[in-house]
């Protein structure tokens, strides 16, 4: 979706403000919020793409004015209701009003180390890769109204296939609960000027990780 989350190249957000000796969490609730989100994802309540879509679907004004873990808390509430795991009335009450749905089992202490390892997203190829390293490709001018990982700034731009990363779970399908639909994943390199115009820093190049359905030969 062409949402507020797709920020690459936007103006007006001001300076980057690094914090010296930043703590891992700035408040206890941030840590609890992160852990709650990950504990629910770990038992398969939703997949990583459904989770990202949950953040992107927050209203733009809410997205911009909520802290990072604030967004995670809102996403958690929304997904719990969306997937029928908790009622909005229970969230409002702050207590369970009905028994929980049977899930694969809750995350126990012994299983925590597993959640600290990243999942594997590579899958067997369904077909030969359409592009090879060095090919010129154009990112398609597409505007799907749902979750996608093709940033706006790359659309319609021509780049070069720099690397083939294997066949991966396709987020655009996975976020809809429509299966993994594995697709070839490429690193596509763009000249800064191709992305941002003639006045761009001539020393800039930028790459995206692009799934094959995002690309066409150029």
């Amino acid at each position: 979706m062409d949402g507020i989350h797709d920020m690459g190249g936007m103006h007006g957000f001001g300076k980057v403000e690094p914090e010296k000796n930043e703590a891992v969490f700035h408040a206890e609730w941030e840590a609890r919020c992160l852990a709650l989100n990950r504990a629910m994802a770990a038992i398969g309540a939703w997949n990583i793409d459904e989770g990202r879509a949950g953040i992107e679907e927050l209203p733009p004004a809410v997205y911009l004015t909520s802290s990072y873990y604030g967004k995670w808390a809102l996403r958690l509430e929304n997904l719990l209701v969306k997937f029928g795991l908790v009622g909005a009335d229970e969230i409002a009450a702050g207590h369970a009003l009905r028994a929980g749905k049977p899930l694969a089992g809750k995350l126990g202490v012994a299983e925590v180390p597993v959640t600290l390892t990243r999942g594997a997203f590579a899958r067997p190829a369904q077909a030969a890769a359409r592009f090879k390293v060095g090919d010129r490709v154009r990112a398609k001018n597409i505007h799907p109204p749902m979750h996608t990982r093709l940033p706006r700034y790359a659309r319609s731009r021509v780049g070069v296939i720099e690397a083939i990363r294997g066949c991966h779970v396709f987020p655009d399908s996975s976020a809809l609960g429509a299966g993994e639909n594995p697709q070839w994943l490429y690193t596509v390199l763009f000249e800064g000027r191709e992305l941002w115009g003639d006045n761009t820093d001539p020393t800039l190049t930028a790459s995206i990780e692009a799934f094959e359905p995002y690309l066409e030969a150029a």
């Binding site: 690459g8 957000f13 990243r118």
Partner: protein, 208 residues
């Protein structure tokens, strides 16, 4: 972790509200039988103590000290980092990108907050912020200036937007004047920011 954050924060009222809101969520989820609060405690402790840029620093120091390891790291960072045994099991799709005198790499996630957690820990607030995510791809030199860093005018700047499940870590250049240093001493030069590409390693005299 401190528990007195409400008192000294400009956003005290938001924090209190969020604290209550998240606490209520945890109560609901525990009562529904979906979560075990004790497991959350263990997870949080791991994020605060076990996972962090100290792991990435060891990887970089090893690459500086051991050319064969550096080659393996560039070829397949997942496998190379796994071989160090710092982390129980290294997740897939980790990619190391090397800085040179002519090329400076910088990592961003314009769409969300993708970051190599296993080697760098949880991302800092600035990495997840709108200013960084919006400007890294079209004004990287301006972003670096915000970090107090100026690169030579003729250096190429390469920005990696983490738009899939591949994850990137920058292998910075080894500082001059560190010949013969142990990996442990070298690791003390490696900052989180230099592994994201928004900083350079510390100078040898800074840790004397």
């Amino acid at each position: 972790m401190t528990h007195d954050h409400d008192d000294d924060s400009a956003h005290g009222s938001e924090l209190s509200e969020m604290q209550l809101r998240v606490r209520a969520l945890e109560t609901v989820l525990a009562e529904k039988g979906y979560i075990d609060p004790a497991a959350l405690d263990v997870m949080i402790e791991a994020y605060e103590t076990k996972i962090g840029p100290h792991n990435g620093a060891r990887v970089v120091a090893k690459a500086w000290a051991d050319p064969a390891f550096k080659q393996a790291l560039i070829a397949d960072a997942t496998r190379a980092v796994q071989s160090l045994g710092l982390i129980d099991r290294v997740g897939d799709h980790l990619i190391a990108v090397e800085n040179t005198l002519k090329l400076h790499n910088m990592i961003v996630c314009t769409l969300c907050s993708c970051y190599p957690w296993q080697v760098l820990g949880l991302p800092p607030v600035w990495y997840k912020s709108a200013p960084y995510r919006s400007r890294a791809v079209n004004d990287p030199r301006g972003v670096l200036a915000d970090f107090g860093l100026t690169l030579p005018a003729d250096a190429q700047i390469r920005v990696w937007d983490s738009t899939a499940e591949t994850r990137f870590i920058v292998l910075p250049m080894r500082p001059a004047g560190t010949e013969g240093w142990s990996e442990e001493k070298l690791a003390a030069l490696v900052t989180r920011d230099c592994m994201v590409g928004t900083g350079l390693p510390r100078a040898p005299q800074d840790i004397a």
